[in-house]
Symmetry: D3
Subunit: 73 residues, 6 copies
Amino acid sequence: MPFINLKLAKGRTVEQKERFVKAITREAVEILNVKAEWVTVVIDEYDRDNWATGGELHSIKFGEGCGKMGVED
Amino acid sequence: MPFINLKLAKGRTVEQKERFVKAITREAVEILNVKAEWVTVVIDEYDRDNWATGGELHSIKFGEGCGKMGVED
Amino acid sequence: MPFINLKLAKGRTVEQKERFVKAITREAVEILNVKAEWVTVVIDEYDRDNWATGGELHSIKFGEGCGKMGVED
Amino acid sequence: MPFINLKLAKGRTVEQKERFVKAITREAVEILNVKAEWVTVVIDEYDRDNWATGGELHSIKFGEGCGKMGVED
Amino acid sequence: MPFINLKLAKGRTVEQKERFVKAITREAVEILNVKAEWVTVVIDEYDRDNWATGGELHSIKFGEGCGKMGVED
Amino acid sequence: MPFINLKLAKGRTVEQKERFVKAITREAVEILNVKAEWVTVVIDEYDRDNWATGGELHSIKFGEGCGKMGVED
C-alpha cells in the first residue's frame, strides 16, 4: 500500500513518467504517512480509440496523438 | 463521474466502439441523471491469452480472434 | 466477456441500477455482438470524500449527496 | 484524462485526502501537460482484512487500523 | 509485482480470505517465478445490488446473501 | 463472480498463464465455494516503463525484461 493506477493517453516520455512517479510517491510519503518502498504506481496508456467523454471517442473528437493545445487527454 | 471501464476481447471496429460509447453515455444521462460531458468510457482490449473462464485461457478454449458464432468473447 | 465496471457517486436507487445494467447489456448484445449471459456489470459507489476533479474533493466542491441540479456526480 | 485511482488502507482524514488530490493534480498538470479540470482522482479504502502481501492478510500481520510506526499500509 | 485484485460477493469469512490469499500467493511464487513478498492481493466485496450478469442484478436474480447452492456469486 | 485481475510484468509464457489461471480457479472453487465456470481471470501485462515502486520506474531500477534473479517483477 498504497497502490496508484494512472490511466491516460499514450505519448508521454519515459522522463515524464519518471518525474511523475517520483513526485506522487514523494507526496504519498509526506501526506499519507507511508514509506516510499510501499508505494506502487502502475500506468495504463490508451489509444484515443479507447477513451471517450461525452459519448464520443477522443480519436474522433480530437484526432490521434496527445498533448496538443486545447485538447483534453 | 460516472467512469465506465469496458474490458473485452480485441477485435471490435472503431465504429462499434463509437456506437457503444454513444449508447451507454445516452443511457447514463437518462437513467443515472448525469450530464453527458461527465461520462467517461475507457476500453481495455484483451488478447485471448490474457482472458480465462473456468480455469482455461480463451486462446486455448476458442482459438484466437473474436466474434465467432458460439464463442464467448 | 465483456466485463463492465461502473464507478459513480453513491445514491442511485436499485431501480436505477437495474434499468442501467439492463440497458447497457442490451446495447452490448446489439453492438458488440455478444450473448447477454456473457455480460457482467459491476458497480462501485463512492462517497464524495473519495472522488476529486480539478484537484478538489467533491465533498468540498459540492457538499455531500448526489443528483443535485448542476452538480457533477 | 488522466484518471488516477488510489487504493490504500482505511483511516486517512478528509484533510489528508484533500491535500493529496491537490498535490497529485498539480504534479499532473505540471509534468503530464494536462489541464487541472481533466484530472480525476478516485480513492478506494480497504479494511486490512481485504489487503494481503506475502500471502498474509494485513489484519493478521499488523492488526487493524492504519498509520502505525513500522507498519506497511 | 504481481498485483492481484479479487472481486466477489460479500460474505466470505476472514479464514476463507486468509486461505485464498495464501494459496494464490504460493501459486504465483511457483508458477510466475516471483518472491512471495512481491505479491499483493486486494479484495473488493460487493453487495448483490452492485453485480449483474445477463442484464439483471444478482439481488433480483438470486436474492441477497452468498454461497447458496446453485447460486452464482 | 468471482472476477480476478492479475497485473504483472510482461514476459510470462502462455504455459505459465495457463497453469496459473488453472491453479487459482481451482483454489477459488475449493476455498470460496464457487463453480469453476463463474471464475473469470483477466491478465494485464506491463512494460517496466509503466510500473514503479519506491518512486522509481522498474525499467530504470532493473532494466527491461522480467524474471531475472533478485529482480522484483
